[in-house]
Amino acid sequence: MADNVEAIQKSIKWYIIIGVILIVFSGLTVGLSYVELPTHSLNILVGMILATVKATLVALIFMHLNHERSMIYKILLFTVVLASVLFALFIFSHEDPLQFSGFYAPVEQQ
């Protein structure tokens, strides 16, 4: 924990720099969402990667996780594992397959 004066003084500069980086990344995300990649899933992947980078910056620097005690890391390990399971549940939806039939079949209008 940044308890001494110099460490906090140094962090202040970083808080502002990271803030600007976050805003730039947000603008980047907006711009990239209008660029059509070969599939929309790629767009989603790019968007989520950018979001994860931003989230990591907030968590590490704003939330002081870069120099936190091990107790907190232990709590967060549980969180990461359980949240991953929550999202991985989606994989089981493939047991119940949904066929992509175009946006409303029939769509042969051209």
Binding site: H40, R69, I75, A83, Y104
Partner: protein, 449 residues
């Protein structure tokens, strides 16, 4: 009694208690929002309609993103200033954080308000029209002379309550009613109670399962009801939500819609969409639609010659979800349509410039299968959008209130024990950063992708 370890660290954990507490709480919040995000994934993958992309106001969403990021910076700065005992800067940063929260919620209220006033109407051929209802949408009945009320004798899900389910929708003041035995009453809670008790007793004696009460109006009644206010209607009868029926004449159930979009993605042959029927938008708009569609398809074929057109959600949307931005079709030509065609109506005053340039159509009930404003009941996308952003908004309000409390009411602690206040602000700030984290994922997922 002093709460221990609010300032100094506990020897075994190395942290003050609130720090562990808040991280445990944030861990549970991750599961809360994680569950909703997981629901979003399921709903999106399972959707049987084109999932809306860029349908929300991206500019307003981006402003909110910048505002929330700025507030994240100021809240951690407030903590740092407090640790450095720079109380003036502490207060300023906290104040900016709370103001940013206010701006965020204000923008959100603008978004929600616009959505509630915007309608989507699905037609029988699968076309979706979007637009505004400048005069609302009411079903008009005239010449109703009697009410037929059925009071069930056993407890039932539907029990007669004409005072709350019929009276409010009478145009003008309600007339007096004559009961079957000639008594004239005005219908209110007390008189209906008496009537109902009487009829029920008679029906019970006759071993019937329900009591029928007929009330004849002393003057003919007119109704103007929203479809959601009644159970159903035919050309001659309305059935109210409590089971009461009234016989009269259906005068008008047409919907006047100011159209700002035609979504033909659900129609087999888009140019033959019911929206371009001569009664509605007409040929000139149909031509404009076809031009726009073909232009986008040609451009896509040129830019991406190897890609499958049916798999590009963006192309489907650009070519088939046609936005109408003027009262007259762009290359209008001579065909100005007949009386039901695309007429330039000046909208109701309350709407201002934003919808001043849209054609108005008068839709017949038989062509409409479903309509709703942009609320959770429209489709699963809006259901999850409002759930996620609504719950997030509540978290913003809660976080802002906590930070406001520290700013406004902890003056004594500021003077006497600033280290304790710094820890409180740090913990409140951690919650605030979590709220920002959720928005960092929400914004791209809902607004951009």
């Amino acid at each position: 009694m002093d709460i221990p370890y609010t300032v100094h660290a506990r020897p075994d954990t190395g942290l003050y208690n609130a720090k562990i507490g808040i991280w445990l709480f944030l861990a549970s919040e991750v599961m809360l929002f994680g569950g909703l995000f997981s629901a979003y994934i399921f709903l999106r993958v399972g959707a049987d309609y084109p999932w809306p992309v860029h349908d929300l106001d991206v500019t307003l969403g981006f402003i909110n993103t910048v505002v929330l990021i700025a507030s994240s910076v100021t809240v951690v700065m407030a903590w740092a200033m407090l640790k450095l005992r720079k109380f003036g800067w502490y207060r300023i940063n906290m104040a900016i954080t709370v103001i940013c929260a206010g701006v965020f919620m204000f923008n959100k209220s603008l978004e929600y308000k616009a959505k509630f006033a915007h309608y989507a109407v699905k037609l029988t051929d699968g076309t979706l029209l979007t637009g505004h209802l400048p005069h609302g949408y009411h079903v008009k009945f005239e010449g109703v002379s009697e009410l037929n009320i059925t009071v069930p004798l056993k407890t039932s899900g539907v029990s007669a309550d004409p005072v709350n389910h019929v009276l409010p929708f009478i145009e003008g003041t309600a007339p007096k009613f004559k009961t079957e035995d000639g008594k004239e009453i005005s219908l209110d809670e007390a008189s209906f109670e008496a009537l109902s008790a009487d009829a029920s007793k008679n029906a019970a004696d006759a071993k019937k399962s329900s009591a029928a009460i007929k009330l004849v109006a002393t003057a003919p009644i007119n109704f103007a009801v929203k479809p959601s206010d009644i159970f159903g209607y035919t050309d001659t009868t309305i059935t109210f939500r409590d089971g009461t029926t009234a016989t009269g004449k259906l005068v008008d159930d047409k919907m006047t819609l100011e159209v700002d979009g035609v979504d033909a993605r659900g129609v087999a042959q888009s140019e033959k969409s019911l929206a371009f029927d001569h009664r509605y938008l007409g040929e000139a708009w149909q031509k404009a639609f076809v031009e726009n569609r073909d232009h986008h398809i040609t451009k896509f074929e040129k830019d991406y010659p190897t890609r499958d057109k049916t798999r590009s959600a963006t192309l489907q949307k650009e070519s088939l979800f046609f936005k109408l931005n003027s009262a007259e079709p762009p290359a209008a030509g001579a065909a100005h349509g007949d009386a039901h065609g695309a007429e330039a109506h000046a909208p109701a005053e309350g709407h201002g410039g934003a919808h001043a340039h849209h054609p108005t159509v008068v839709l017949e009930k038989k062509d409409i299968t479903f309509f709703s404003n942009f609320t959770p009941k429209l489709n699963t996308y809006y259901a999850i959008y409002f759930t996620l952003t609504g719950l997030h908004g509540l978290h913003v309000i809660a976080g802002a209130l906590v930070l406001l409390y520290f700013l406004a009411f902890d003056g004594k602690r500021l003077r006497q024990d600033p280290e304790h206040l710094a820890n409180r602000v740090e913990v409140g700030g951690l919650f605030w950063h979590f709220v920002d984290l959720v928005w960092i994922f929400l914004f791209p997922l809902l607004y951009l992708l």
